[in-house]
Amino acid sequence: MSPDTSSFPAVTDTVTQAEIDVYAELSTDFNPLHVDPEAAAASEFGGIIAHGPIALHAFFRAATQWLGTEAAPAGSNIRITYRAPTRPGDRITCRLVEASETEPGHFEVSAECVNQDETVVVSIAATLVAA
């Protein structure tokens, strides 16, 4: 059964340094910008920033919840634009901008992940296929 375009869940993640450290371990990306407070403070960002996909995580969770699946079904695609850095302590909420069913079971979805200041950190355009 196709999901209801009005029921896309709003998922919120609070990004912590512990999460960033886990992400560094899983990805083997130990860029000092993510894990070294001193080096990050001296950078143009002025402090630690999260790996880019961490800001996207709320969308992944929202999309799979909405589709009722554990994986992204075959035929789905996701196009992401990173717009602003995410920092430890940020509350990232994924919210739907627009969704339409272009053919049975195929959805064109526009979403964004925003932080607690309503700054868009990630924009997403996706084609999601119901399993």
């Binding site: 993640d13 512990a18 999460e19 886990v22 992400y23 899983l26 990805s27 083997t28 990306d29 860029n31 000092p32 910008l33 790996h51 880019g52 996909p53 961490i54 996207l56 995580h57 992944f60 969770r61 999309a63 799979t64 699946t69 554990e70 994986a71 992204a72 079904p73 075959a74 035929g75 789905s76 695609n77 996701i78 196009r79 992401i80 634009t81 990173y82």
Partner: protein, 141 residues
């Protein structure tokens, strides 16, 4: 393939379009999938690889191929195309290469492509990262 260079040491001019790295073997373990299926790091049991696994596999492949994403780079865009669902416990093979490099609006953009296949050779996922490179034409890292 010779030993991986630090990607941060590779200037824009030295990036070779279409030169393949890999395939690198990775296993999507129960632990990896579970730590990415719900809140990052929490154990959320899952039978299939959640979508968050694939950016992790991209980063691991980049690390093995070139030493990782270069210091000073900016991740601008990312694209993921899902071709088949992947059961947890599967081994996959990740190939990566520079798909294109070009200067737009005076900024050096590099597209790094990824192809992920299972043991049978079935394509599981394709995708790319579009990165603003820290060096441009004629500049040293």
């Amino acid at each position: 393939m010779s030993e991986a260079r630090e990607l941060s040491n590779i200037p824009y001019d030295d990036l070779v379009v279409d030169a393949r790295f890999g395939p690198y073997d990775e296993t999507v373990t129960e632990d990896l999938a579970a730590r990415l299926a719900g809140p990052i790091g929490a154990q959320t049991p899952t039978a299939f690889a959640p979508p968050a696994v694939y950016p992790i596999l991209f980063l691991r492949a980049l690390r093995r191929a070139m030493g990782g994403i270069p210091a000073g780079s900016i991740l601008a865009k990312q694209e993921l195309e899902f071709h088949a669902e992947l059961p947890v416990g599967s081994q996959v093979h990740v190939t990566t290469w520079v798909g294109s490099k070009e200067v737009k609006r005076e900024r050096p953009f590099v597209t790094i492509e990824f192809d992920i296949r299972d043991d049978s050779g079935k394509q599981i996922l394709t995708g790319r990262k579009i990165i603003v490179w820290p060096t441009g034409p004629g500049e040293q890292a």
